[in-house]
Amino acid sequence: MEHPHRAEAPVLNKSVPVRHPGRWISAVIILALVAVFLQSLFTNPNFRWDIVGTYILDVKVVQGVGWTLLLTVTSMALAIVLAILLAFMRQSDNPVFRWSSWVWVWFFRGTPVYTQLVFWGLIAVLYPKISAGVPFGPELFSLDTASIVNATVAAILGLGLNESAYLAEIFRAGLKSVDKGQMEAAEALGMAKGKIMWRIILPQAMRVIVPPTGNETIGMLKTTSLVLAVPFTLDLTFATNALANRTYLPVPLLIVAAIWYLVITSILMVGQHFIEAYYGKGVDNLAPAAVNPAAAKAAGAGADVKHSMKTDFPEESAR
């Protein structure tokens, strides 16, 4: 066959697409269920949306949101610092470090966070005074434990230490995911161990570490509702529960709490998106390289041809 009109655009295939009746049926069923649910939201008087509206911006509730955020951020910060340390210790040449790190993770992952929170609440009973001095020798100074470990500190310690054990495993997995060649290349350049970890290995490990850590942060947001065990009584769940008990209206106040948790989670997810983008630089969000420069040149030449064709027929585009 001859092709006298090579330059002409090919006639595109217009095939009949495969039909998907299952998609339509499932869509109808799901939409119907959603409609029923939405209708109940608006028509069921037991939801008491008026009460939700009254309490959503209540001072106690907003303060509860603040405390919940504070607990989440500080305990996660504590957990991240400890987890980096634990993960580095686990990779250390020093067997004492490796062993201590393992025991830490074993203990804090192996006991319920609720138990740990109660324990931190009782620390002042267990050790009424914190003192520094030579063991079995003279005492240098001493402080009342209760004055240092108040309910807030106990809650942060309880949540943070527990979380550090989980995060340590996430960080360990992240560090292991970095190619061995990276360590060798940095070593060959004469970089010191610490610099290699901070500048080469950890930034690459972050790509693997950030998504599960985001998960853990959102988990932590809700775990803060357990600080009642300390007892710490200012967080969001405690505040809404207290209001529910006073008003005898548990459902609308649970909705108030749920709305706030959802709002914070959504904000955290946005933050996670940007952190992931930052640590993915150079790897995730780039066009793949032209592996074959000849092909790239040819593609470039093709673009030039198109360009020159346009300039050859200016009246064509003007029409």
Partner: protein, 258 residues
């Protein structure tokens, strides 16, 4: 190329390497003079890469001595006894030895420029401005001055390997080690990397090159060493060995790769 004096820079004496019970290197002796290009060839598993990695201690030395510039690598000798060097001292020795890997091993989260600047700034303590100026010169030298802002994933294999060479040169080493630098490249990209290595050889850099590129050995090599089974089978002038190998194993190997 002008070699003014036969001054040995690298001395490998009686080098052995065990992985558990596996005896990989069985007594290697080798000398590389200042400004020389020493090419090492041999079938895979012959121990040539392991030998190279021992020179900058990426592999520990089971037996024997390696010295670079008169300095014993990895040990300090006190009254005839060897003492292991500290991590910091080993790092200091590695600064004098550049290494180029088969798989490039560029830092993927840093641009080409940042890759080259990393060690001068964070190991040598050069100022950023100074390191950047020098890094751009080096990238120019390997033909990638216009790719400074690219991440490794945006570069071809050949370009990545040339950045890796620039990165090693940025530390101004007295010795460069090349571990099969073109083996992971598409055939049409090999030439660019070899040309950079040829220029480097011409500039008087002392190089140990483990490779399968017999043409490079013939053209650029000052000595050629053929290894098999963890020993040096034959060593001498590259052109002579390639044209007229003395050992049956060398003959057989060259017959397969040429």
């Amino acid at each position: 190329m002008t070699i003014t004096a036969e001054k040995p820079l690298v001395k490998i004496e009686g080098l052995h390497k065990y992985y558990g019970h596996h005896h990989v290197l069985r007594g290697i002796d080798m000398t590389v003079n200042q400004g020389e290009v020493s090419v090492v060839i041999g079938p895979s598993g012959s121990g040539k890469s392991t030998m190279l990695r021992c020179v900058n201690l990426l592999e520990s030395i089971s037996a024997g001595r390696i010295s670079v510039g008169g300095q014993l690598i990895g040990y300090r000798e006190v009254n005839g006894r060897l003492h292991d060097l500290k991590t910091k001292e080993i790092a200091a020795q590695r600064r004098e030895i550049g290494m180029v890997f088969q798989r490039f091993n560029l830092f993927p989260h840093k641009t080409a420029l940042q890759n080259v600047m990393e060690a001068p700034v964070h190991v040598k303590g050069q100022s950023k401005a100074e390191a950047q100026k020098r890094a751009l010169e080096l990238l120019d030298r390997v033909g990638l001055g216009d790719r400074a802002g690219h991440y490794p994933s945006q570069l071809s294999g050949g370009q990545q390997q040339r950045v890796a060479i620039a990165r090693a040169l940025a530390m101004e080493p007295e010795l460069m080690l090349f571990d099969e630098p073109t083996s992971a490249l598409d055939p049409e990209l090999v030439g660019d990397v070899l040309n950079v290595m040829k220029d480097l050889a011409k500039s008087g850099m002392t190089m140990i090159v483990v490779t399968h590129e017999i043409g490079f050995a013939r053209e650029v090599g000052d000595t050629l060493t053929f290894m098999d089974g963890g020993v040096v089978v034959e060593s001498g002038d590259p052109r002579e060995i390639i044209a007229n190998p003395q050992h049956a194993r060398t003959k057989e190997f060259l017959g397969r790769v040429l």
